[in-house]
Symmetry: C2
Subunit: 409 residues, 2 copies
């Protein structure tokens, strides 16, 4: 199906977004504030790890070539400072998991493998191999090795490795600063009385929460009526503090003149309509480093557009990899009717007993119906067309949350 | 394989944890602070939504039984306050997407389907169906309907629905307050010089970050040496402020006497050793509402134990559903060697072209090697045994992060 003039394919739109945006500068943060941030520089091992031969068991450190049938216990080395003990022939040092190997020893016998007396142990009949129950220096991590590459999201595991390498600060990308402004004469704040024709503003909250999980900092969030002048004033008051302006609905920000009014003569509208459902009207504009997304007002359209276009933009600013979430294959559990545009349908993906991903529709896909996203953990990508796509067909999907077992719920 | 005396099966251990813990009280938070929290009460629709018949297109509001070939445009109704316009025979009102339907009209004709003149439109030949391009009151949401059940994590979508129902605050469970204390004479703060035998403390950071993503609030985080008295003083100083104490490594908190020293005579050790790998030594104890987890010191053991036992505990306190993450079926991409205990192996799960989940090992599974968790997005659950499990076998897995496409990386 050909794309009508004035519209562009969502893949092309996303590429324009990515090509228009640069990575933000990095900043240094202490370990305790680094979780959830994106690593700006590779983490390289500063030393071998472990740095010393360490016992992997509670046991006795011995020399494996010593043939004495029993060994005098001459000391105890716990995990902690190396006490500088030495194991001489006929001797052993009691040792704990993680403790450094005493001089003269080259193997560990676990406690459960020896007979212990007050001041000595009786050796087992079997020979002990050199290196037994020892972690050798560098066996986990080699000095100079790249442990984590720039662009990784820092979770507990990354943080643990960074700490293990003795770093107390981390270089991360600055968070993109975002203003969210919902527009529309029909909107009131949630909790206010609803006069006929009015609805509570919801996009401001849902977009703000989603943007935060994408790694953005929300520095401004407000609501204006369908008044370009009012919106322009609002934008002027925040534009020096933000990297991205996200608007939803109401005022037709797709109009070139409106964008000029908002941003000035230098503003450039890159696209205004995308060949997709939900979310056809979608403005992307640039002005001297400021990125503007004019999202549609329908709640589902705005959330899907955010996922498809704003998330990659934020990833690019953060230098986060992958820039664009993978599309994975899923099998349709039910027939699907395509629409006249490329469609991102909300589905619930589960895993069947054989380990296959199955996609079931979350019901009526009308773009005003936010409930269709409630139990959705994926968007399936359905080409424009007229023929029903039968259950059993494998289609691409963008996963939004973990798939659950088909047996549950 | 039978379980040695003194150990219990991980499923039994988890059940003991769940049975020992109660849900925390709820609190009311404003919409802007509700994302990431767990809903404490069902969200019930207070009214039909939409509350009024609304246009789904920019177009013209008409009476479908009016046979006039053209209609005079008598007004404009945008999305916003209902202007109280009426459509009489021979007339129409221009209407915008989301706007309330004027009196006397029962259908919308989209702009692209009519011929427009200055002050009138020419009707198409085809009849217009009553209700065309209208969202009827209650078509998305019915008053009284339960929209979101208690126990749901509040993300952008939930927040949008809560706002749409006109609520400006949300009832959420209080966050579990947690103290994390790492123990061991071998530990120094990251960034300090490493004398022989010493290693940087990493667990405190990785456990803290993971606990936060589970929904906990970290109110205390510190490090002590292998000194029960020092640890007891630390615990005494924080115990009134916390719901959960998490320790890692070093001091043998599994010892009944040690727990008594820490918590007092009323303390009760529920279990000390779990038949699993990694993480066999794992203490779970209770004392007058305080929950204590003594995690093993090896970084992988502590992170896996946290996932398997502390996450369900936090979920129970939050009333979050599901309490225990689903196990889903995945197909082994490589042969797997089981161990002498039930094992949770770190794997990378990808999706192949047919939509099947494939699990590949992340390498050496020694429990000190945190790097084995670096690219792991799942734990596969492998029963104790001696026979190699061949590639192609379907095994249960706990997903920790989204699976990616097998084609990438």
């Amino acid at each position: 199906m050909s794309i009508p003039s004035g519209m562009i394919h969502p893949d092309e739109a996303r590429q324009i977004v990515l090509d228009s945006i640069s990575q933000l500068p990095s900043e240094s943060v202490p370990l305790t504030n680094a979780a959830g941030r994106v690593l700006a520089r590779d983490v390289v091992a500063r030393y071998d790890y472990p740095a010393f031969p360490a016992s992997t068991m509670d046991g006795y450190a011995i020399a494996s070539d010593d043939v004495s049938p029993w060994r005098e216990i001459t000391g105890v080395q716990i995990a902690g400072p190396d006490l500088g003990l030495t194991v001489y022939p006929g001797q052993t040092v009691k040792i704990m998991t993680g403790a450094p190997l005493p001089h003269g020893a080259d193997a560990i016998i676990p406690i459960e493998m020896v007979e212990q007396a007050d001041d000595h142990i009786v050796m087992p009949d079997e020979a002990v191999q050199p290196g037994a129950f020892l972690r050798q220096p560098g066996s986990d991590i080699r000095s100079g090795q790249t442990l984590i590459t720039a662009g990784a999201l820092i979770t507990g595991v990354e943080l643990g490795l960074i700490a293990t390498m003795g770093y107390d600060t981390v270089s991360v990308s600055r968070k993109p600063r975002v203003a969210v402004i919902s527009t529309g004469d029909e909107l009131v704040d949630p909790g206010s009385d609803l006069a006929p024709g009015m609805i509570p503003d919801s996009n401001r909250y849902s977009l703000g929460a989603a943007l935060r999980t994408m790694g953005a900092e929300i520095v401004h969030s407000s609501r204006v009526g369908d008044d370009v002048r009012e919106l322009a004033e609002r934008v002027t008051s925040v534009r020096d503090d933000i990297d991205i302006l996200v608007t939803s609905g109401g005022v037709s920000v797709g109009d070139k003149d409106v964008v000029r009014m908002l941003l000035g003569e230098s503003a450039e509208v890159k696209f205004r309509r995308v060949f997709m459902k939900p979310g056809k009207p979608l403005t992307f504009a640039l002005d001297k480093g400021l990125v503007i997304f004019g999202l549609p007002g329908n709640p589902v359209s705005s959330m899907v557009s955010l996922e498809l276009f704003v998330r990659p933009a934020i990833n690019k600013m953060l230098g986060r990899h992958p820039l664009v979430p993978d599309r994975v294959s899923v099998t349709l559990a039910t027939d699907i009717k395509p629409s006249d545009r490329l469609e991102f349908q909300r589905v619930q993906v589960t895993v069947d007993e054989s380990g296959r991903l199955l996609a079931s529709s979350t019901g009526n896909q009308i773009s005003s119906r936010l409930a269709s996203m409630l139990n959705a953990n994926a968007l399936i990508v359905i080409d424009a067309g007229t023929e029903t796509i039968p259950a059993g067909t494998v289609v691409p999907a963008i996963l939004l949350d973990l798939p659950r077992s088909a047996g549950t719920k």
